[in-house]
Symmetry: D2
Subunit: 346 residues, 4 copies
Amino acid sequence: MIKASIIGANGYTGLELMNLLSCHPQAKIAHIVSRSNAGIKARQLYPSLHRLGEKRFENLDLDAIAEGSDVVFSALPHSASAEVCGKLCRKGLKVIDLSADFRYRDKSVYEQWYKVKHPCPELCSRAVYGLPEIYREKIRGAQIVGNPGCYTTCSILALYPLLKEKAISPDGIIIDAKSGTSGAGRKAEADLSFCEVNENFKAYAVTTHRHTSEIEQELSLAAGRAVALSFTPHLLPIQRGILATIYCEPERGVMDGDIYSVYQKYYAGEPFVVINEEGVFPEIKHVRHSNYISIGFKLDKRINRLIIISALDNLVKGASGQAIQNMNIMFGLDEHAGLEHLSRYI
Amino acid sequence: MIKASIIGANGYTGLELMNLLSCHPQAKIAHIVSRSNAGIKARQLYPSLHRLGEKRFENLDLDAIAEGSDVVFSALPHSASAEVCGKLCRKGLKVIDLSADFRYRDKSVYEQWYKVKHPCPELCSRAVYGLPEIYREKIRGAQIVGNPGCYTTCSILALYPLLKEKAISPDGIIIDAKSGTSGAGRKAEADLSFCEVNENFKAYAVTTHRHTSEIEQELSLAAGRAVALSFTPHLLPIQRGILATIYCEPERGVMDGDIYSVYQKYYAGEPFVVINEEGVFPEIKHVRHSNYISIGFKLDKRINRLIIISALDNLVKGASGQAIQNMNIMFGLDEHAGLEHLSRYI
Amino acid sequence: MIKASIIGANGYTGLELMNLLSCHPQAKIAHIVSRSNAGIKARQLYPSLHRLGEKRFENLDLDAIAEGSDVVFSALPHSASAEVCGKLCRKGLKVIDLSADFRYRDKSVYEQWYKVKHPCPELCSRAVYGLPEIYREKIRGAQIVGNPGCYTTCSILALYPLLKEKAISPDGIIIDAKSGTSGAGRKAEADLSFCEVNENFKAYAVTTHRHTSEIEQELSLAAGRAVALSFTPHLLPIQRGILATIYCEPERGVMDGDIYSVYQKYYAGEPFVVINEEGVFPEIKHVRHSNYISIGFKLDKRINRLIIISALDNLVKGASGQAIQNMNIMFGLDEHAGLEHLSRYI
Amino acid sequence: MIKASIIGANGYTGLELMNLLSCHPQAKIAHIVSRSNAGIKARQLYPSLHRLGEKRFENLDLDAIAEGSDVVFSALPHSASAEVCGKLCRKGLKVIDLSADFRYRDKSVYEQWYKVKHPCPELCSRAVYGLPEIYREKIRGAQIVGNPGCYTTCSILALYPLLKEKAISPDGIIIDAKSGTSGAGRKAEADLSFCEVNENFKAYAVTTHRHTSEIEQELSLAAGRAVALSFTPHLLPIQRGILATIYCEPERGVMDGDIYSVYQKYYAGEPFVVINEEGVFPEIKHVRHSNYISIGFKLDKRINRLIIISALDNLVKGASGQAIQNMNIMFGLDEHAGLEHLSRYI
């Protein structure tokens, strides 16, 4: 059994990690760390964690964690996370970081968008971007994985193959993304209160959302040239799920069948990617509580534009489920392990 | 035009007061006071207040308020409210207090349930309990009105006539009440966040909710003897509305028709009370955004129990609408004034 | 008092018309027609309609309507509506049609997108497109008004001035629109049931929604040349409201200030249009239950794209409120009449 | 591997059975029957059923089912279900019936409340009431199990031990129950549409709900005498979950500790029952998507009343999860099998 610890376990991604690991057939939870809840049972904070029994949150004790863990998931905020991850790596542990700290190839891009100095730049070059559909082989040998963002996973997987195969233009891409409220984390903010969010809908961080830079990084690699795009996130009055509506221009002569073929070429054997037939689109309830991403598309010949819609659960494929998938790869397990039982239509 | 000011205007009852007063045909808003938002336009905090134009929140300036107002609504927290209300009364203003401070006939009951010393006990005996259906004549001549609580309005109006007419036993009454989340106010609390409230339902303050004492006070007056009852509030994942399911024992020989007759006797001419035929029950959407309370009932002969269901909007008839109704009475206006246009089925 | 009748009064736009007219200071409801509910009180179907008293739905009796009405609102489905509207016009009544039947300048465009033969083509040329911000003068003298669609009002008002003033390119416009569920009407469909809609989000009618043609018609007139654009509607798990996120390309040299100036030029005196400062965006709760449309924008200089966000309530400014606004104009009333009291932040 | 078939697989309890069985480590799905969807892939109707691959709904073929199945779950409507279950039993299959048809000890009670003649009365005496916490031993040897209703499971488990141990009076019990909308099934009804259910709350079937008779049957057995009680169901604007607030009278001398002890005595070793400390109450999010029932209680000494709150997921412990638990017992499997991974706080 792989011994897994979680740091920053009290938030929603931490909750999801505890949830998933408590049912994983080949892993067990070692330490769960939360400074603000140290000493409290996980079940007191989240009574749904029936399977965690008497397990309690602990203070951060690097030696205890190093001794009792094979892998550590960090769900700390960015910058704070890199500091702790660095120390854990130096103690020889495998680390999966759910913050943004190890997602960037170019530290200066990170520092520009996150407006902090990177606390552990020496590790960046060794970190692998944890998107299994693209970097599976590198993840297999990684010591530290930068687990991708939720919006970014949903956006990159929809566009990467099409750019790589030059089926669409790298210019003028628009990603209109909508996310459930759990993406904002578990916070005491009036703006996130039920009365403010329910029966409402709004855009936020228009032209300035940090995930823009992460999406552009990976799509530039796919396109073989710099990609600059429009990314607009919106807040949905639901708990989980992201749906991205993507607009782009097909290259001359590209037909519906070509788009489908490109997706098949890249994702045919993928355990968690669903490609729908042309004109069939995913809804959030098709993937919520699951590790799947579902992608649909349609060519609007009237105006020569390709519309792609992709959907995933922000806490699973967009965060903690993908982190478990990365763990499975890093430890040579079946990629499905611990991730099979999750879909919930209602 | 009556000049009305609002103190503690930034919360949801304050918002509703601003909303209602901005459309009132015979009143206009003088001052809106919010220490934490002083200097800010009301429309910046609540962009839906289109009709408030450039109106800004102010700091509390008793002299300015006294000079420019005929009536003041206080939406301050209990205890803080009584202090301010006392000063305003002494300056000769009419005051409608939406806190609990002037609802109690016996200061010691207030002090026991609210666990504070009453800051202005000398005013209590002059204050009128602002339930128009019961105390309309007294309200007409009042300088200070203690505006009833939301749960209490919903509970008292359903039971008062039946106890007064001895149609039901004063023993063994159970009030199982469910409220929308706006009843908790506009707060930055993780427990009130969308992800915690949505798709959830829970009881709270079981056996200890303060409104119990207010309900018992009025129903004891109706019954002519002490009434002690069971009151259990629950939190609904909706924004507005209260529905109370009430269980009580009919006195011997009481029939369906008798219940209906009693309600008719008390409420036939009431502008904002709807009595449904036996077996027809109100839903929250029948009254939301309105100043109406709707009451239904059914006698379960199989087990000799009367079930009453009453519904209202906690921010309107349960708070700010009732406060406007009280203002209308105090100033001799049509009771409907400013309260006609509100029902919203969806 | 203007005597107004409603045909097809049982659906949500009919409900909203009854709601609004029952509080209108210069209009009163004459006949409410619903074949499927004839004989039933409006309050039985919608108990929130307290102010409608004993008013009952009737069968369609053209003579009775003609005799007792100054104006008729038709909320019938398209095609059925034109037939009835034609007869009412011939009897000399003023008619406001909420269906699509009288929105098109070119009957063949209507017939192509709605896939029916127009039942009353001779009236089309006399009908006025009921968007007051653009066609106020024509509406004033109209006998029959084609009341615009919900998505179309939200889209056209955001783009019309910018195209007219050549501030943006007429090519490549993308409208990503999201609507509350009341837009689908009151229907018994499993797909519209609470369990299917709640906690979900999806696109629908991708590349094929009929409102596309209506938007293109008006924007082509603004641009002075044919405009073909991408319009993608989505279903929000809320009851009311539309928010459209619009992407377009600014013409060379256009700055933020230019955009704001163009909007000011067209909408400065408009009673129901709010233009926000650059970078401030509307949310659905800013306009729900109101007749306002709120528009925000931001120039993304990094990629030279203009993002516009517009929001309105689909049942009010997107349907019944705009219909009342049109009635006010047609009868020379204050445009605010009956439309002042509606905003609801929560 | 146990081969399990589902009849009436297209509704929400059928969906949940497919969901659970597709992840069960010792069972596999044989046939899924739905007349209205025969020939269609399960994934077309419910795209979240990723694990069902190409599995298609079939027409009802009793021979094929008998040949290929060890156990059959019937999710047909009552009366239709008994007919099919009878035939399957005669073919030697084990049957778990999720309808009400085999829940009653006295056929005439069933016929009175369900207003149909029982189509298969000869099987009733052999059927076992499938509540494992009370009838585990009988379930072990049963050929046919009548799987309990959702409200009934939530109510009976909260009260059975207390009545059995004479800790509470069998008279005057009140059950005020609230259920999510999935309890109404997957239906095309305007009353179940999003716009009608959302932001609303209502009671229904007041004094007449059929589950009353099922609760009374079991509690009468516990009390050793006839129990008649008040049961009032309400419709919550959520998808899943039931919370019941129960009011009863403690017998003389009963203390908090006694209540806790009685629950411990009956449920200490139960795999899916959580008993909370006095004054700690379950919420729906503590049990949603899980097979757990959670029970809390408090003695209100002021008025000598015991308040019990119990919560479960209506589709899992209230239906399909409990059915799987029964299957596990009937086939000698670990009772947790296939039911471990389900809790979802958000």
